[in-house]
């Protein structure tokens, strides 16, 4: 087996009496799309928060590209190549769509202690920004303030910003949350295009999308991984069916 890009090692996170992440171990291989599914409150977002440095685990380790990043601040992880999107849309609302992605590019280009040249007229930021918007289909909305974008467009921007850091591992927390059917289709198409080019840890409730996109699936229930395997294995897993897929027709 090749060296994992991301290795999660007996991670534990408690909120008072609640164990949101329960001795979770998991790995993401280079190039794969690893889907993380599980019922509401299973601890998926909590896991992403620990991987991206916004929550401190109580114990366990996170290894990214052979480096222990468990204690690393969020921004430093992005520079190592670990970027996330948010389940609850988190864009810079008073900036334009283009500003939002241009900032991702700006962060990627190194420190921003540059005090003189106007950033909004810098082609080195605007051009990659436009490409990022084109990639998610938002090019014609470049100058619209993020707050004025429709919910679906904000979701696309959310993903474009994560992509803008050019990450080696993309952590996507329900990219299609709250999207209409048409928008979902274009998001799935985008993820399909990224497949094979980007390593992804993908959280998604839409099972059709998950089974279509994932190389491997891990099922999380009450903070524990009850199964990991290929889509076919997960589909066949009885424990998964009772615990999660239950009544839903897969």
């Amino acid at each position: 087996m090749a060296e994992a890009l991301l290795q999660i090692d007996s991670l534990v996170k408690r909120f008072g009496g609640l164990v949101a992440t329960d001795s979770l171990s998991l790995d993401v291989q280079p190039g794969e799309v690893h889907a993380l599914i599980g019922p509401n409150g299973a601890g998926k977002t909590t896991l992403i928060a620990q991987l991206s440095g916004f929550l401190k685990p109580d114990s366990g380790r996170v290894i990214f590209d052979r480096q222990d990043i468990t204690g690393l601040p969020a921004a430093a992880r992005v520079r190592l190549g670990l970027a996330r999107s948010f389940q609850i849309t988190s864009v810079l609302r008073d900036f334009s769509a283009l500003d939002n992605v241009a900032l991702a590019e700006q962060a990627r280009q190194g420190h921003s202690f540059r005090f003189w040249r106007p950033a909004r007229r810098d082609p080195a930021l605007r051009n990659p920004g436009m490409l990022a918007l084109e990639e998610v289909g938002l090019a014609d909305r470049a100058d619209t303030p993020a707050a004025s974008l429709s919910h679906g467009e904000q979701r696309q921007l959310e993903v474009a910003m994560a992509l803008g850091s050019d990450p080696r591992l993309l952590l996507l927390d329900e990219p299609m949350a709250g999207m209409g059917p048409e928008e979902s289709v274009s998001m799935v198409a985008l993820l399909r295009r990224l497949r094979g080019k980007r390593t992804m840890l993908l959280i998604e409730h839409d099972m059709d999308a998950v089974f279509a996109l994932a190389d491997r699936i891990t099922v999380l229930v009450y903070g524990r991984a009850i199964a990991t395997g290929t889509p076919a294995e997960i589909r066949a897993n009885r424990e998964v069916r009772t615990a999660y897929l239950g009544d839903t027709e897969v």
């Binding site: 991206s52 440095g53 916004f54 601040p73 969020a74 921004a75 430093a76 992005v78 520079r79 970027a83 996330r84 948010f86 988190s90 864009v91 810079l92 609302r93 008073d94 900036f95 500003d99 900032l103 991702a104 700006q106 962060a107 990627r108 921003s112 202690f113 540059r114 005090f115 003189w116 040249r117 106007p118 950033a119 909004r120 810098d122 930021l125 910003m161 994560a162 803008g164 850091s165």
Partner: protein, 363 residues
């Protein structure tokens, strides 16, 4: 096509906001040249006009520096007047010991303010919201009481500065010319600071600062260690405000702890909010409006109250002797009127005076 593009370019450049900005800056910059005319016309004494307006310019510089962190960075520092005090005391203490060169005093004032801002910022910027307000206020009060305790430099009573900063004779520091010269110097510094803030907030650094105000977590998720950028802005703001303090000490030829009293910090916040947070020129409008109201509102109120009195006297007859004085004494409550005006502006225009000029251009 070219016609369309040039129109498209012209429109955002020449807006009401820009026009007003040019007029206001021109009126400020040319004051020494038309002030004599104002005096001959019997409108206002020339010296008095220059003195009042120099103070406006200097506090506008201080407000601009606060705007950088408050308006663009979302950091509600309730202790910003501390840097006015630090800059002022640097000048005053050096002058007291016979070190009168402005080329020494001013850089030191700026450096010292920056260092204090670094220390205060490093500790306070780890907190948010009300805690940040309280911690910056606490540091300001601490330094205020240090000033009160500085016996060799006049403690509570302050210290008179016998000689203004000496810029190798380039700027007259005595005689009748010194008022004009100092006004011009203050205006030049204000313009420089405005230019600096304008470049700063539109640079990559500025985008990070504004992004962190808008959504700090997202900025971190994009890979920006926002603390560093916020701290850097805090230090720059402190340094600029220290410069304003050095100017103010020269202007009043006097330093005292009152310069850094928390109410002074509050005044600066009011100027920024009143003028328009996060607009480069907003603090200039805010300082103008606030300080001119403070200066002229009592007189204005007496005038209006006098009219009212005469009006009612004409209708219902004169009251008992002394009624007019009682009536005019109401003008002592001018601060209530000032408060009402502030509330009205803030409620009516959340972006302050600047937003009243139209938001056609981009911020």
């Amino acid at each position: 096509m070219p016609a369309v593009t040039s129109l498209g370019l012209l429109r955002p450049i020449m807006t009401w906001r820009v026009a007003v900005a040019i007029v206001v800056l021109a009126l400020l910059g040319l004051l020494p040249w038309y002030a004599p005319w104002l005096e001959t016309a019997g409108i206002i004494n020339q010296r008095f006009a220059l003195t009042v307006m120099t103070r406006v310019l200097i506090l506008a510089i201080a407000a601009c520096s606060l705007n950088l962190i408050l308006g663009y960075g979302g950091m509600v520092s309730f202790g910003h007047a501390v840097y006015i005090g630090l800059g002022g005391y640097t000048v005053g203490i050096l002058a007291h010991h016979g070190l009168g060169s402005g080329f020494v005093q001013f850089p030191l004032a700026i450096l010292l303010s920056a260092l204090f801002a670094l220390a205060i910022g490093a500790l306070s910027l780890r907190t948010r919201g009300v805690y940040f307000i309280m911690i910056t206020l606490a540091f300001a009060q601490l330094l205020y009481f240090v000033g009160v305790g500085l016996e060799p430099y006049g403690a509570d009573d302050g210290l008179t500065i016998n000689r203004r900063s000496d810029f190798a004779g380039l700027i007259p520091d005595r005689g009748p010319d010194k008022f004009v010269a100092f006004y011009v110097l203050s205006f030049a510094v204000l313009v420089l600071v405005l230019g600096l803030v304008h470049r700063l907030v539109n640079s990559r650094f500025g985008m990070v600062l504004r992004g962190a105000r808008s959504n700090d977590l997202r900025m971190q998720a994009l890979g920006f260690p926002t603390f560093r950028y916020r701290l850097a802005a805090f230090v720059i703001a402190g340094a600029i405000c220290g410069l304003a303090g050095a100017l103010l000490a020269n202007h009043t030829e006097f330093i005292s702890p009152a310069m850094m009293h928390w109410t002074r910090s509050g005044d600066l916040i009011v100027m920024v909010v009143l003028g328009g947070m996060g607009s480069v020129l907003g603090p200039v409008y805010g300082a103008l409006a606030f300080l001119l109201l403070e200066e002229f509102l009592p007189g204005l109120l007496r005038l209006v109250l006098g009219w009212l009195h005469d009006g009612t006297a004409a209708v219902i007859g004169r009251g008992p002797a002394g009624a007019l004085d009682d009536w005019l004494r109401l003008a002592e409550y001018w601060q209530i009127a000032l408060g009402a005006i502030l509330i009205a502006v803030v409620l009516h225009a959340r972006g302050g005076i600047d937003s009243l000029l139209g938001r056609a251009g981009r911020g």
